[in-house]
Symmetry: C2
Subunit: 241 residues, 2 copies
C-alpha cells in the first residue's frame, strides 16, 4: 500500500524531512499536492485536510495518509514511518532517542523560520525586516552554534561511531540533520560555515548522507525541490553576517 | 524505581507538562532541581545534563531520568511515560494520535513564549517590548483562535465523546491541553476568554481536568508552581488586548 505525502507543492519546508525518509528507503509513495492526476494537486490535499468526516484531522501540512490513517506533525510522521522504513533501531531506547533528536531538529527548524518571520507569519517579510535583522543576529551568533555543538557532541559520543547519530546505521534523524544543515547553509552561508568549522562530525555527516545511492539519485532528480524564498530556509543577505 | 524529573525549579514552564502526567498517575517521582537533599538542587540537574560520560545528553531541561535512561524533550518524555503511567491508549493509532496532539500543544507553547521574546531569549523582555507588542497582537488575533479551534474540532469529533481528546479516558494530551489553556488564560486573560467563547468543549475540558482527585490535590499543593514572569506564560498587560 503506497504512502501518500501531502505538503505544499513549491517549497521543501517540513515536508522534505518526510520525503527524504521515503526516498532513502525506496518506499512507494505519492506526493499528492505535486501531482496532476485524478485526486491530486493542492486542492485535493486541502480537501482531504478539511474533510468534516476526518476524526483525526491534521493541524497543518505535512501529513501522511497510509490506508485509513492520517498522521500530521513531521516528527509524528517519522515516528510512525521509522520502523516501517527501517530507518530507526528496533529497541524502545533507540526509538525514543532518535525521536528526541528529531524533536530538537524540529526546534531548530522552527527557529530558522522565526528569523524571517519574527512578528507574524501572516505579514510579509518586508513588513518585519527590522525585527528579522535583530532576530537573525541572535540566531546566527548563539543558536546555530548551540544546536550544531549539541549534534557534534551526540556524534562524538555515539559508541558505534561518529558516522551516524544513533547506532551504526542510517536513521531518519541523520536524514533530518542533513536537511537542517543544508537549509542553514542555504539561508546563512557565512554564519553556518563559521559554526561548522567547530563541528567536523556534523560537517562530515552533511557530506556523507547524500552519497547514499538512493539519496544521490533523488537529490539529482526533479523530485527534489530547491530552497527558495517562500520556504522555511530563505536566503536574505541582510540576515547572514 | 522512582522517576527523576529535572527542570528549572522556579517556573512551571515545559516541566509542568511532565509533572502533571506524573501527578495524575500517582507516580513515584523526585523533582530533583527543587529538592534540597543530597544529589538534589539545580546544580545537580546541570551536572547531570552536562556530564561528559552521558551518551544521550539532553539538549535542555526538562529531562527525565529513569534507571539508566535519560530522556529530554517534553513530548519524547511523555511518549515514553504515556504507556507506563496508563495515560495513553494501547494501540499504535492511539499513541501516534495522542503524540500528534502533544506536538501541536508544544507548537502553541513555543509560540506563546515567542510573544514576549520575539527577538532573542538572550535579551530582556524590556529590550524587545516593541516587537513583542506586535507579535502578541498576531498571536492573540490569529494563533490562539486557530489552535483552540483545532482542539475544539478534535474534541467535537471524538467518537467516544467530547470529554477527552482521545478515546474515553484521560490521556497526557488532555493534561497538556489543560495546562496550555491555563497558561493562555494567565498570560492573555482577555484574548483567551474571547476565543474560548467559541470553543465550549475546550473550556469544559479546562474545567473538568482539575476535578480529577489526584490532580485537585496536586494543584492545591505547594508542588504546583504558580505562573510567573520568568516562565513561558507571562502576564504583561500590554500584550493582552
Amino acid at each position: 500500500m503506497a504512502y501518500e505525502l501531502h505538503y505544499w507543492p513549491t517549497i521543501p519546508g517540513r515536508g522534505e524531512f518526510v520525503r527524504l525518509a521515503l526516498e532513502a528507503a525506496g518506499a512507494d509513495y505519492v506526493d499528492v499536492a505535486r501531482g496532476s492526476g485524478k485526486g491530486q494537486g493542492i486542492a485535493a490535499t486541502l480537501r482531504r485536510m478539511n474533510a468534516p468526516a476526518l476524526v483525526q484531522p491534521p493541524f497543518a501540512p505535512p501529513f501522511l495518509v497510509h490506508g485509513k490513517r492520517t498522521i500530521g506533525q513531521t516528527a509524528a510522521i517519522l515516528l510512525y514511518l521509522g520502523p516501517r522504513l527501517g530507518l530507526v533501531g528496533k529497541s524502545e531506547t533507540s526509538q525514543v532517542w532518535t525521536h528526541q533528536l528529531q524533536l530538537t531538529i524540529a526546534d531548530a527548524v522552527a527557529e530558522a523560520h522565526e528569523t524571517h518571520h519574527p512578528i507574524a507569519t501572516s505579514l510579509y517579510y518586508e513588513d518585519q525586516r527590522h525585527a528579522a535583522v535583530q532576530r537573525a543576529k541572535a540566531f546566527r551568533e548563539l543558536r546555530i552554534p548551540k544546536f550544531l555543538d549539541w549534534f557534534e557532541t551526540v556524534l562524538a559520543r555515539n559508541p558505534k561511531g561518529s558516522q551516524h547519530l544513533v547506532g551504526a546505521r542510517l536513521s531518519y534523524a541523520d536524514l533530518s540533520l542533513f536537511q537542517l544543515v543544508d537549509g542553514l547553509l542555504y539561508a546563512f552561508p557565512k554564519a553556518t560555515a563559521r559554526a561548522m568549522k567547530k563541528t567536523p562530525h556534523v560537517a562530515q555527516l552533511h557530506l556523507s548522507v547524500p552519497r547514499n545511492a538512493r539519496l544521490a539519485a533523488y537529490l539529482a532528480s526533479q523530485r527534489r525541490i530547491a530552497f527558495n524564498e517562500e520556504g522555511i530556509f530563505r536566503r536574505y543577505p541582510e540576515l547572514d553576517g
